[in-house]
Symmetry: C2
Subunit: 194 residues, 2 copies
DNA sequence: TTCTCCATGTAAGTAGTTACATGATTGG
DNA sequence: CCAATCATGTAACTACTTACATGGAGAA
């Protein structure tokens, strides 16, 4: 879909991957170094995306080569650091990625829910323990999400409203899991039903 | 954590992975062939797990070698088929996997939400289109989940209650996403706020 | 006969991870 | 001076995917 023809003197884009666009988007939002990108990911999109430190630096290299960001050495004292900023081309490439219409798959991959699904293989007491663990996990996630609400609010005040939206989705859906767990626990306690 | 000491004459288990346990669990629930396992995964845990056809057969091989399932040739006419059943050892191994206490990470990985997070880079109209796409996607998932409610009900009637629970979680959390989207769309239509 | 479903397989590739390694700066 | 944080990198691995391939069975 991305036409990689070389209209200018730069390298043709080598089919950027989703993690590349995450890095690009974070640079756009003001993350300057690879280290800072990692931090921002942890503080914002962590509940629906992760990126390992290892893949950030090669990604920055590709983006710079493609002219989507510019990098400049910017040491802090004697500690080396490379500071990046997005270019006009980069802004356009990001918009193009965001805008493309192709269907967006939703693929969750969670061993916790898998284990819960198979919980009938356990004695009832142990199955309920597992249920508690799953509920607790979402409660923890919920707390973590509430803790970053302030940064999403700050982003909104700067004109970026969508980080707050995705945060609210995270809150909403972990709350939904907790609700289902509690509802189920109640039903288990009073088994007057069929 | 899994102690792979060989107490009997069989192969020591070569550290089974999560997909292996998914296959094992599906055999326990009555899936006989690799083909049927794939089908069952699609009809039950699909919203929080996928497995590709390719990885099922090697997995069945490992499980059989480890003595967790037994396989027998069971052709349908001249079409070959291998039918599997779980063993006592397999039941125990599954229970052990389900029961272990170690923290269960929750790692979602969804480009859709990532794109929504960065949507402020788009002109407002296009950002709202993206929001609509995300909402629609959850509505579709919701419909798909409601369509498999009958099999979860059937499982419950056979004594397996947890498939219904995880299904309700899927329903709950896609509903939560839809709710947040609609709430946000309302706010965008009437921007009387700060 | 043709289409859909049943049933299994191989080969090649990429995306991503964990583990390890290094060293400077800042704050207590 | 010690711990936490800042900042980047390398090497080895494993999990998983896509694409391709084959062919029988049953229904229209």
């Amino acid at each position: 879909m991305t036409d990689a023809s070389s209209q200018d003197g730069r390298q043709a884009l080598p089919e950027l991957t989703a993690p590349d666009y995450v890095v690009l988007g974070m640079v756009r939002l003001g993350a300057r170094s690879g280290y800072e990108i990692k931090q921002r990911v942890e503080r914002s999109i962590r509940f629906f995306w992760t990126i390992s430190q290892v893949q950030i630096y090669p990604s920055l290299g590709r983006l710079e080569q493609a002219g989507l960001i510019t990098g400049a050495d910017d040491p802090q004292g004697r500690r080396p650091r490379r500071a990046y900023a997005i270019t006009g081309t980069g802004e356009a490439a990001l918009r193009q990625w965001l805008h493309q219409a192709e269907p967006i798959p939703f693929e969750l991959r969670d061993t916790g829910l898998v284990r819960l699904f198979f919980a009938d293989a356990l004695p009832p007491g142990e199955a309920r323990e597992l249920l508690t663990v799953i509920k607790q996990r979402s409660q923890d996630k919920l707390a973590a999400l509430r803790a970053i609400e302030s940064s999403a609010d700050a982003a909104r005040d700067k004109g970026d409203i969508y980080p707050l939206l995705t945060l609210q989705m995270g809150i909403g859906f972990h709350q939904a899991i907790i609700d289902v767990c509690q509802d189920f626990e109640r039903k288990l306690r009073e088994p007057y039903r069929v």
